[in-house]
């Protein structure tokens, strides 16, 4: 264990290095820039490469290229840059390339209240690209979670050959706190599955029974072809509808079949009983917990469910937990993105929202007053 006074962004960069990431390509943007700065200092020390590309399109392309060369790769950005990365994030989905994209969310639309906090890229993370797209998205709420979830993002990415989005926000990224980092030897690191067949038999897009094909790397004895066009198992263009349907379906099912490995969350329930369930992610988690504590004094039993995995959406979890409450309150720093998903899973009638999009975070007081409203309407 190592005690450090650390910032969220620093923890993300250190987490990446701790699990073996050795390539970063990016383009600076607040509030993510410290990730690039730490990566530029630390990567060459461990034999890795930092590249500041000409823009975010290039950054995303470069980490895909590096990953196909066999090196764990990542980039970091914020909303405007994340928008530019979407096209090549689609390439990573289509070519099944492991890589990690950190989006430290800030206010929008467009340049917006530059650098002020928001959580409004949730849907951009899910649907930002053209075509049907399956990705994993995780969201940290504390500095320690920044470290741990970066590692988990790489692990899931390697495990499922899928880009993973770490959806942080300005508040957690710029927060400094004392953290105890785990002993390096205790960190669980997942590496991609390499092919074991003779080179001439290797099919880079032929799935194993778990739905995930092994991935060779450029320069190994295996030769392979990766294309952003629709392709068959050999990796060459193939346009028939049966193949296309099979491929697109597999991109989703290789994740949805393994939700038990993908879904992470935290429960903060007083006792274990509650009437009101507050659902949060990232920076809304802490004020929500404080508000739930105070609600006790008002005679309201409130619990907080922090969603760490946001995509694929943990429907079963939300449905099950919501069933235990008489009402559900979704707190988010946007005008209502998560609440729709929660309503879909938990039923429209008992789900309420608390939304804010003025470039400021929530205070516990604001959340508490909404808790009281929601609890009141549930009783009425």
């Amino acid at each position: 264990m190592m005690q450090l006074f650390m910032q969220g962004n620093e923890a993300i960069a250190e987490g990446a290095i701790a699990c073996g990431a050795r390539f970063y390509a990016g383009y600076p943007i607040t509030p993510s820039s410290e990730i690039a700065e730490v990566a530029s200092r630390r990567l060459p020390q461990v034999g890795g490469v930092y590249l500041q590309m000409e823009d975010e399109l290039a950054s995303m392309a470069a980490i895909i290229g590096a990953s196909l060369s066999g090196v764990k790769s990542f980039t970091a950005t914020s909303g405007p840059g994340f928008s530019l990365m979407q096209e090549n994030l689609g390439v990573a989905v289509m070519e099944e390339v492991p890589c990690v994209v950190v989006d430290v969310q800030r206010s929008g639309p467009s340049t917006g209240l530059a650098t002020k906090p928001a959580q409004a890229d949730l849907m951009q993370a899910r649907w930002g690209r053209h075509g049907d797209q399956a990705v994993i998205c995780l969201s940290p709420a504390t500095v320690r979670e920044c470290f741990d979830l970066t590692i988990e993002a790489f692990n899931l990415s390697e495990r499922f050959r899928v880009p993973v989005i770490l959806l942080a926000d300005e508040i957690v990224a710029h927060m400094r706190e004392n953290v105890e980092l785990p002993d390096p030897s205790s960190i669980k690191v997942v590496d991609r599955k390499l092919p074991t067949c003779p080179p001439e038999e290797y099919l880079p897009f032929k799935p194993d029974p778990d739905g995930v094909p092994p991935l060779a790397y450029y320069g190994s004895e295996y030769i392979f072809h990766a294309t952003s066009s629709m392709h068959g198992e050999r990796g060459y263009s193939q346009n028939d509808p049966e193949n296309a349907a099979k491929k697109i379906e597999r991109l989703f099912s290789k994740l949805t079949r393994h939700m038990d490995e993908i879904v992470h969350f935290k429960r903060y329930y007083p006792g274990d009983e509650f009437d009101l369930l507050i659902i949060t992610f990232g920076a809304t988690t802490r004020p929500a917990r404080a508000a739930a504590q105070r609600a006790k004094g008002e005679g309201i039993r409130a619990g907080v469910l922090q969603l760490i995995t946001l995509w694929p959406f943990p429907e079963e979890l939300v449905e099950k937990e919501a069933r235990r409450a008489s009402s559900v309150l979704v707190c988010e720093l946007n005008l209502g993105q998560l609440v729709h998903e929660v309503k879909r899973a938990a039923g429209k009638d008992k789900v309420f929202g608390l939304h804010k999009a003025n470039g400021e975070g929530f205070t516990p007081k604001e959340i508490l007053s909404r808790i009281k409203e929601v609890a009141g309407s549930a009783q009425a």
């Binding site: 034999g47 290229g65 060369s69 066999g70 320069g219 030769i223 392979f224």
Partner: protein, 262 residues
């Protein structure tokens, strides 16, 4: 002869066989070669090669390739782009790849327009030329890609044509062997889109035009003012010896590791 999607009379097949010969003559192992392509007619070339390949998005081929080469300096990385791909949408990546002097070979097949999407204007379409989106003639001026890349800092810059094949074989070979950013522009006919609209008289006539207007660089520089309009220099236009990105980065790693220890 492979089955392929290019039109008859298209220059792409000639450039592809030239590249295949260059790879064979250099005796490179297929698994050590990565061909990176963008999107367009020429961007389909990877489908006909049995090396490693990465077919990415329109305009971004050099950025993918930069990641590949920076992560594994041992690989031989060859990037195949149309003029739309490499110089119009991808112009920014082109100048920065040259500036970075990343060690790869970029081959831009210049057919003066967008073949794949129906012959629209490109950043290399000559001023005044007719395309599907410049029915009254191109109001914009064209890029000289070799001058652009030279100014941006490439170590090797050459221009060939689909007509001058033995020379093209040599330029591609040299480009692969040269350390640092190598750029070969290949002037190539697109009879279907560009030739038809500009009444250039079909594939054979377009080849004859290349024969008559491509001038070896040395005589081009000597006789510049006496040459017929439309003449352009071919051959090796520039060679430099700046350290490539990976070489410079190795120094950075060494320095970081020394400082990291104290």
């Amino acid at each position: 002869m492979l089955p392929h999607l290019w039109c008859s009379g298209c220059g792409n097949g000639i450039v592809l066989s030239s590249l295949a010969r260059a790879l064979a003559e250099l005796g490179l192992e297929r698994n050590q070669v990565v061909v990176v392509t963008g999107i367009g007619c020429w961007g389909k070339a990877d489908d006909y090669l049995s090396t490693n390949a990465l077919h990415g998005t329109h305009g971004r081929a050099l950025a993918f390739a930069t990641g590949i080469k920076a992560a594994n300096p041992k690989l031989c990385v060859i990037v195949l782009m149309g003029d739309g791909d490499g110089a119009t949408i991808g112009g920014n990546h082109l100048i920065h790849a040259a500036r970075r002097n990343i060690d790869l070979l970029a081959v831009v097949v210049n057919n003066h327009n967008y073949g794949m999407t129906g012959g629209q204007v490109s950043a290399t379409t000559p001023a005044g030329a007719v395309t599907s989106t410049t029915a009254y003639g191109n109001p914009e001026r064209e890029f000289d890609l070799c001058e652009l890349v030279m100014a941006a800092g490439a170590n090797y810059v050459a221009r060939g044509t689909a007509y001058h094949v033995p020379q093209l074989d040599r330029l591609l070979r040299e480009g692969i062997e040269k350390k640092g950013f190598s750029f070969v522009e290949v002037m190539s006919p697109c009879p279907t889109q560009y030739g038809r609209r500009n009444q250039l008289g079909g594939a054979v006539k377009m080849m004859e035009w290349l024969r008559d207007h491509a001038v070896p660089v040395k005589s081009f520089r000597e006789k510049r003012d006496d040459l017929p309009p439309g003449s352009f220099p071919i051959g090796k236009l520039h060679e430099g010896d700046d350290p490539d990105f990976n070489t410079r980065y190795r120094d950075i790693q060494a320095r970081a590791q020394k400082e990291g220890q104290v």
